[in-house]
């Protein structure tokens, strides 16, 4: 069976019966977890939990601009700084090619890579933190995500474990198989699930979302879309009204 290039999942039945907790979401991680991830063929696992797309929050220690990419070293204190590479669009002027200065706290969304036994990230989004409480939230999301993902390996899917008092809840999920690993609210996960289910290349428009989500106001939908986009779950396509999920379905 010839597997397609790029991100398509291989055709044909999955022959592996081995139980795995496949994360189709973006998993928040520490640099130490990424460094410890084991690679088997094309996949990475942290304690048997499969990961691919991750988010990391850390401070930029070093930034080096090359013609086609910017190489950052991002430090979250859990290990040595990690290499994060961001490919720049050489055709696009302004915006995307601005180098984030060292000393800035950022949230990175990207794919884990390993080359000659050295781990690095290829970032599709690097966002300077404007509100440092996001850094604290990321810490909590990491513990929550890895706890849930690992527990799902050993038992049937069940209600998420109760989170320690004082922290707002992870968010309920109306049906579907999504794991509540990213601290999304009910509105955000509804919007995300709709966007994920959209098969067309240009993605789902805000108008279509409003049509399908009768009870949600346009401003609530826009807020959800803005949040999901900043977290790296979705990206805009033909214009700012159309979005696709970053998950490779």
């Amino acid at each position: 069976v010839q597997s397609p290039g790029g991100f398509g999942s291989p055709a044909g039945a999955q022959t592996e019966k081995k139980q795995r907790s496949r994360s189709q979401n973006i998993v928040p991680c520490t640099v130490s977890q990424l460094l410890a991830a084991e690679q088997v063929d094309e996949t990475f696992r942290i304690c048997d939990v499969e990961i691919s797309q991750v988010t990391v929050v850390g401070i930029i220690r070093h930034a080096e601009k090359a013609p086609t990419n910017i190489l950052y070293k991002v430090d979250d204190m859990t290990a040595a700084p990690m290499d994060v590479r961001q490919w720049v669009d050489t055709d696009e002027a302004g915006g995307e090619n601005v180098v984030v200065p060292p000393g800035t706290y950022v949230k990175v969304a990207g794919h884990l890579r390993s080359f000659q036994n050295k781990k690095s990230l290829v970032a599709f989004k690097i966002m300077p933190l404007e509100n440092m409480n996001e850094f604290t939230t990321h810490i909590l999301e990491i513990v929550n995500a890895h706890m849930i993902l690992r527990k799902n390996l050993t038992s049937a899917l069940r209600a998420p474990p109760a989170f320690p008092a004082g922290i707002s809840d992870v968010g309920s999920f109306g049906g579907g198989s999504s794991l509540p690993v990213n601290g999304l609210s009910a509105h955000q996960s509804q919007v995300l699930n709709l966007i994920k289910s959209c098969p067309v290349p240009e993605g789902m428009s805000l108008q279509e979302l409003k049509l399908q989500l009768h009870s949600m106001s346009m401003s609530t939908i826009k807020q959800a879309v803005e949040f999901l986009s900043s977290e790296g779950h979705i990206y805009s396509t033909v214009d700012d009204d159309h979005y696709k999920s970053t998950d490779a379905e």
Partner: protein, 116 residues
């Protein structure tokens, strides 16, 4: 002392300094006071406990608000600072109490938030 950036620096609260004597740590706190010499300052953590941070060179700038210090814990349970950054609070104040709660969680679940 060398550059601590290449190793894990556990995030701790003031109450944990004693358990990390001689070790690299990362401490986040609010500036309470700065010594006139500029070679030492005091930070408070999310439960109001104070920590003394020492510098090998005096401060060359005013610091205030929330500071994140990377350094090594001395025998006196102070922190010998290697580097520091100020958290931005221009758009939103930093919730230091929430950060303290997060520290409790990462210390309760080191298997989900490993240092090193």
């Amino acid at each position: 002392m060398g550059d601590l950036q290449e190793v894990a620096r556990p995030r701790i609260a003031a109450g944990q300094l004693a358990q990390h004597i001689g070790q690299p740590v990362c401490f986040v706190g609010r500036v309470e006071k700065i010594h006139p010499t500029g070679k030492l300052f005091v930070l408070s953590d999310g439960v109001g406990k104070h920590t003394t941070v020492e510098l090998s060179e005096p401060l060359d700038e005013e610091i205030s608000g929330i500071i994140e210090v990377v350094g090594r814990v001395t025998n006196q349970a102070t922190i010998m600072c290697m580097s520091y950054v100020q958290f931005r609070e221009d758009k939103s104040p930093f919730d230091l109490e929430l950060y303290n709660e997060a520290l409790k969680i990462i210390h309760e679940f080191p298997e989900y938030f490993p240092f090193g």
